[in-house]
Symmetry: C2
Subunit: 127 residues, 2 copies
């Protein structure tokens, strides 16, 4: 099990991060995700990190990279399920996740994406 | 990270199994899931096993247990994303997953649940 599964939900993709992300796994996730965005013509990407109890700068950078890649492929990224402690750590690390939308849970994230796509926001647009 | 996250999608719950399920993790998943079904009044449970490349009788039994518990709590269980090799192994192990619905992916699983709930099937009903 050396891959993070990417689930399709309508025109969005859902990634649930629940194992420690080491370099190789993060690389394969970026590969798989970009390929899947193109293959499924997905317009949105939801990354659930509710299982993460701590983050480091590596994870923060990975989230940023995924958001940037998705944006170039015209898909918007929403990070969902972040635990309070994780938000604190990210800011303390100086990673305020610019360009990434967040939502409390998958439902809220899907609604956010739906509204953004209905409004016709560009992939890169962030309020 | 010693817990499998349970995501809420409308009135359904989504569990993505992507780490090796040992006894303790399976127990905590059953606990968490039953509690969450009650707390969220969920009517359906989707278990994505697309990340599993092999299964053993333990996993097969766990899926069966989860389906039975959900049914008692009036929620239907759909296992999605099963790889062909896993289906072969399950049958060879004598585990044909009675009482569990399956679907190719999360989208199809959600549609199946939606139809079943609209029709007003009982939790335990299987075609």
């Amino acid at each position: 099990m050396d891959r993070v599964p990417i689930l399709r939900l309508g025109d969005c993709l859902l990634v649930t991060v629940q194992v420690d992300m080491h370099d190789e796994l993060a690389m394969s996730l970026q590969d798989d995700l970009t390929n899947k965005i193109v293959a499924t013509k997905a317009r949105g990407v939801l990354i659930d990190i509710s299982a993460l109890e701590m983050v480091d700068s590596f994870i923060g950078r990975m989230l940023g990279n995924i958001a940037s890649m998705s944006r170039i492929l015209d898909a918007q990224t929403v990070v969902v399920g972040m635990q309070p402690a994780v938000a604190i750590t990210l800011v303390e690390l100086g990673l305020s996740l610019p360009g990434i939308r967040t939502a409390l849970n998958v439902d809220a994230g899907l609604a956010l994406l739906r509204r953004a796509l209905d409004r016709g926001d560009e992939g890169g647009y962030v309020d």
